[in-house]
């Protein structure tokens, strides 16, 4: 039976079914939209680089960048490129790899069932040869070298390397030219078998669809395929100390404008479920109170010339890691890093501004409503939340539960500038 949950205030109804092979399917109908957007996501990303392959006993360590490489290679089979099929069916397809997920997706305004079939079938049919694997290396090398020239990307991964001593989150998702050079077709098959079992995957469909009909269609498609019994993949992560690796990392680059990112490494990275959702929203709210455009800190930083309107901040957490990131372009990147640290310390000592708290909570509620216009946001965020046992539609109720007292406690525990804070700056190189 298909489950059905209504969210009255949002006027949305979500349908769900866990199929016999373990695949979780969610459908959110959006009457009036032209577009249907579907994601098919495996709980497997760049951090999963050490695991016991399905059917074996010993753990293996695989080359950096392999989850992303596998994502690229899924689009090809012996008949060529699956992009061509989606195009013929009037859909646009894509995929992305994050630290913890690999998502395959399409959007289309017609032929929804045909496109769903193409999506399910290509992701559930691996086809790799030595030749196609070698050919892909040239393309991914260009993707890597594009990021090497991108100072924001270098700044972000520089910060992760400064914060993390061992955890694979510090490694670039695409790997390096050297690491992808070592990838073989057998490695790809091994990762595929271990992580692309339907029981490790979730499908989310949002758009102008009839839930019963689409659910039956997917179920039928899955019944026609055979999968081995589900086994939960066993992953290994080296122990990560609480301390950051480096307090300050400087990367010289041939750029005109410097950049600063300050990071705070999560002290309790094993939260899941509603507890994690509450924590994530609390930290985001605190950041907005500290550094948002309505804050005094923002006005002061701007007036003193340390920031421009690229300044931003965010907090994100998954099982095993989480971090706050604050920063932007600056003509004095080191001073900005120092100043941000100071302002965090000052904020912790100040009396809690309840009025600002209530105003910013309203802002977060409005942001969430705006995001509900976006099928992409709904499908991708829902999946991320679901993989961490959270529920996207709990965002507003949890925001409404937050109190000044609960935020105070998050403020004191998360924002530890002594041992958990790192900064990474991009310094313009003077070239001759």
């Amino acid at each position: 039976m298909m489950e059905q949950v209504a969210f009255d205030q949002l006027q949305e109804t979500l349908y769900r079914k866990k199929l016999a092979n373990g695949l979780d399917v969610f459908i959110l109908p959006k009457p009036g939209f032209n577009k249907t957007y579907a994601t098919f996501t495996t709980k497997y990303g760049s951090v999963d680089n050490e695991f016991v392959p399905l059917g074996e006993k010993e753990s293996v360590k695989v080359p950096d960048g392999i989850a992303h490489f596998l994502e690229h290679k899924m689009f090809e089979d012996e008949n060529g490129d699956v992009f061509q099929d989606f195009s013929r069916q009037g859909a646009s397809a894509n995929a992305f790899t994050s630290f913890t997920r690999t998502a395959y997706l399409f959007s289309s305004t017609s032929n929804v069932e045909t496109n769903l079939k193409t999506l399910l079938n290509f992701v559930q049919y691996p086809y790799f040869t030595e030749e196609t694997v070698e050919k892909e290396k040239g393309i991914i090398e260009q993707e890597i070298s594009m990021y090497e020239d991108n100072p924001d990307w270098q700044n972000f991964f520089g910060l992760l390397q400064a914060m993390y001593q061992n955890h694979p989150v510090k490694t670039d998702i695409a790997g390096t030219a050297e690491s992808i050079g070592r990838i073989t077709k057998d490695d790809l098959y091994m990762c595929y078998r271990t992580f692309y079992h339907p029981a490790n995957m979730t499908m989310f469909i949002v758009g102008n669809v009839e839930p019963e009909k689409v659910m039956n269609f997917i179920e039928q498609n899955q019944k026609e395929k055979n999968f081995p019994a589900a086994e939960s993949p066993q992953r290994f992560f080296s122990d990560e100390p609480g301390q950051v690796s480096e307090k300050m990392k400087t990367i010289p680059m041939p750029v005109k404008v410097g950049k600063t990112l300050v990071g705070i490494k999560e002290s309790e990275p094993d939260k899941q479920g509603r507890e994690l959702l509450k924590h994530e929203l609390s930290v985001q709210l605190l950041l907005e109170m500290m550094f948002g455009q309505s804050s005094k800190n923002y006005q002061d930083l701007f007036s003193s010339g340390l920031i421009d309107d690229s300044f931003s901040f965010d907090y994100t957490a998954e099982k095993g890691f989480g971090f706050t990131v604050i920063g932007g372009d600056s003509s004095e990147p080191e001073s900005l890093a120092g100043k941000i640290t100071e302002l965090i310390e000052e904020f912790k000592k100040q009396p809690f501004d309840e009025e600002s708290f209530r105003r910013i909570r309203k802002k977060k509620i409005g942001f969430f409503l705006r995001a509900m216009n976006s099928p992409e946001y709904i499908a991708n965020q829902f999946t991320r939340y679901y993989f961490n046992d959270m529920h996207l539609f709990d965002v507003i109720p949890v925001l409404e539960e937050l109190t000044p007292e609960s935020l105070q406690s998050t403020l004191q525990t998360h924002f530890d500038t002594e041992t958990r804070l790192s900064a990474c700056v991009i310094k313009p190189e003077v070239s001759e």
Partner: protein, 420 residues
Amino acid sequence: MENVTINSINTHIMPVKTFKTTTFVLQVRTKLSRETVTARALLPSVLERGTEHFPGRQYIQGALEELYGAHLTADVVKKGEHHVITFRIEVANEKFLSDNTPLTGRAVQLLASVLLYPLTENESFPAEAVEEEKRSHRQKIAGIYDDKMRYAGMRLNEEMCRAEAYALPILGFEEDLDNITGASLYEVYKQMLRESVLDLYVVGDVEEEEIKNFVEQYLQVTNNEPVPYSTEGTKESEKPRLVKEEQQIQQAKLHIGYRTGTTFGDKDYFALQVFNSLFGGSPHSKLFVNVREKASLAYYAASRVESHKGLLLVLSGIESDKYEEAVTIIDKQMEDMKSGNFTEEDISQTKAVLKNQILETIDVPRGRIELEYHGAIAGRKIRAEDWVKEIDQVSKEDIVRAASKIVKDTTYFLYGKGGN
């Protein structure tokens, strides 16, 4: 959709039930010119620094937060040689909130406050805010150099259109900033309100009468008399040129500009759209398949159309020593398009992709508005829904005819030290 002129503002109201927010987009359009390009690029950020009612950025931002995080943005773009400053505000529809205080009217008031009642002292913007925004803007201009795809795009544009206004960079020039003062910028602001063509688009689950009343009551633009102007439009291509530049980079950028001889409103415009999608605008395109998939030369290789200037732009990131190989493949794809070396199946596949893109664009308030606004600029009304019909009617003959007018103009190659 209803169109009415209220307080000199061409108001386009599109009631749709699918969105949980209401979006207002005000397009302020004049001719692109060297004299005002930098000042107008700076203007939106100065306007967001304070109004009579909210005398500082923190107060404007605080008011937006009170409106459940209404989202106010202002930016500047060029569409052909039209210079457009866009102000947007998107506000939650109170239907979906547990608190039912009406928000829409207050959002229009806030938009009006930023646009019409800026904080001034003696016919001048406050000097301190102007200086701070100039510094920030200077840094933004400098930062283009650090984003190589954007830098290459800007450089190609500068080189190819060097004798035309279209060459002007949208953020303006660093050297102009020194001479801008609170008083001179205020003059530019007043001139903008006086001379611009104003179009307001409203998308959301709204009552038309209510919106009209809000516009009439709050957005009281006075003395607006748009100056009629014409743009240079398309231009004949001269001899193809090659411009090369060396920088310390890992990945070279190959950007190629063509003149299409076709702009929005022309008979061949939709044929050009189909051409572009098949040539380089989609993942089944000739550029994607041949430059990336077959030759493994690039991660991205794509093309796009500038609708109001009549340009086709190819962009790709390759290794510095692969220039010849990449150009040969790209030229070959263009030749194949011109000689009709593609099938009916290619065409129907391309149309399916394009129609899908258009329908998806209509699902996003801002996308719907962008499509409608093309027609407003060109003075030819084409509804978003009409795009699909027009695309359907394009034949192979039309595509080849549109292709036959395309002429290669400037190739810009940014390469790494030691390469090439």
